[in-house]
């Protein structure tokens, strides 16, 4: 097997005295979609934030393409090709859709390339093109999520970290978003680490999955194995 794109080794993160991650090991290989499952407070979002350095790890390491990025600054990590779409989408509500996308290409100095990527984003998300002059806050929840993903793609990331893309969306929109994620992975070969509470949708999409419980990995395996596992079905999928 080839070298993993991302590997977390014994990663520990604390909020003050409280451990959010108690030494987790995760590997994500090239062009894979990996789902990170678990209940509220299991440490899923903390894992992503630690990877993108929005929170500092207290010990352990984050290796991206053979480089240790554990203690890099967030912007340096973006420049290396890891991009984080935070929970709650974090789009700029008072900026227009277009301005939001421009922010996505902030690390880029080349205007021609920026226009090209913008065009591609609009091809992928025609809804955003229609609404490019509207303020982000006026978009629907699904459209905001699309905008957040489109904005992240403006950097042409190698690794995309998605935090709860289905949160607060109607089931039909969730399917829509999941299709888009699959499409990104297939067409551009982008490696994706996906955090989800909606385990059913996530496992349909992902190749492999990890299950987190109070800061520890309690299970890992292929997506279809996990979706058949009884304890998972009980805990996260519902009957």
């Amino acid at each position: 097997m080839s070298q993993p794109v991302l590997s977390l080794n014994n990663l520990e993160t604390r909020y003050g005295q409280i451990y959010a991650l108690r030494g987790i090991n995760i590997e994500v290989k090239e062009s894979e979609i990996v789902a990170l499952l678990g209940a509220n407070g299991a440490g899923k979002s903390t894992t992503l934030k630690t990877i993108s350095s929005l929170i500092q790890a207290s010990s352990g390491s984050v290796i991206f393409q053979g480089q240790d990025i554990t203690y890099d600054q967030p912007h340096a990590i973006v420049e290396k090709g890891v991009i984080h779409v935070p929970e709650g989408r974090m789009i700029f509500k008072e900026l227009t859709v277009k301005e939001n996308l421009e922010l996505g290409s902030f690390t880029l100095q080349d205007n021609v390339e920026r226009k090209k990527r913008m065009k591609r984003a609009f091809e992928m998300f025609p809804r955003l093109e229609e609404r490019q002059q509207q303020m982000g806050g006026f978009l629907s929840g699904g459209e905001q999520q699309m905008l957040a993903i489109a904005r992240a793609l403006m950097t042409e990331p190698k690794l995309l970290l998605l935090d709860e893309p289905s949160m607060g969306l109607a089931p039909i929109i969730v399917n829509n978003i999941m299709d888009i994620i699959r499409q990104i992975n297939k067409e551009q070969g982008t490696t994706i680490l996906l955090v989800e509470q909606n385990a059913k949708a996530a496992l349909k999409l992902a190749h492999r999955g990890y299950v987190l419980e109070t800061g520890e990995i309690v299970m890992e395996g292929n997506a279809d194995e996990l979706s058949k596992d009884e304890s998972i079905v009980k805990a996260y999928l519902g009957e």
Partner: protein
Amino acid sequence: MAENKKKPKLTTPLESIIESLFRFFDNKVYRYTALFAASGFLLILPSLSSRFTQEIMTNLFFYVVVCLGLNIIIGYAGLLHLGYAAFFAVGAYTTGIMSSRFGIDFWLTLPFSVVAAVLAGLAIGFPTLRLRGDYLAIVTLGFGEITRLTIRNLDITGGAVGLIGIQRPVFFGITLNQISHFYYMFFILAILAIFVSYRLHDSRMGRAWEYIREDEDAAAAMGINVTTSRLYAFIIGSSFGAVAGSFFAAKMTAISPDSFMFIHSVMFLMAVVLGGMGKIPGVVLGCIIVVLIPEISRDIGQYRLLIFAFMLLIIMLYRPQGIWPDRPTISAKE
């Protein structure tokens, strides 16, 4: 969502008057005509008016420079700074000390004043990198007071008495000693400050500040270097203040710690917030209100401050985003 698509309602008559006025100025022809007329008027004003008027107008230009500097920190980068008078003091005292103690020419002191401002900007910027909002405000407030008290207690700054005998600048053989000279000097400075502010607003740095102001974490997650952007805001903002301080020292020829009290920081802040954070015409308008209204209403004696305060309350109650804000805000935040 559907209910969000409604335009923000114009509730008060005050707001609708203001809005229609600004829509008028959105038209480029009207705007440039008005700007042209205003600058023309300001250019010939000294020959038409009394020394008193010129003095107030000079003060107004001075406020424009200082407040545009503060606007970079507060309006562009969204960092609440309550000790801005300290930056202004750093510039004034750098020029003051070099000029009165060592007899160095005014123009030569300017670069030093900027260097001192950069150092002061870093001094307040570095330790506060992690602080946001109210916490940052408290530290900057302390910074302002520390600076003033330090100045008050050092020998080289002349202690509580301050510095006297700061030399007048010489400009192409003319010693600037008339109020009309300073009127034009500050007029040019204000124009420069406005120009630089516009360029900064449209620069990559300006964009980065805008994103950080809206959401620091999202900005960082998008690859913006939050650390250096914040430091630049402090450095550039403090440089504006320091240059204004240098010219202030040269105009007054004497400075004392009393010129850099907390109340001055508050007045600068008030002009920025009142006019509209981040919007250059808004800040200028804020300066006009803060400087001119107390002067115009001088005839009514001691009540003028009461009326002034009352006006501020009304504006903040009915237009909390400032009279001329950067962009319309979405009323219902999710």
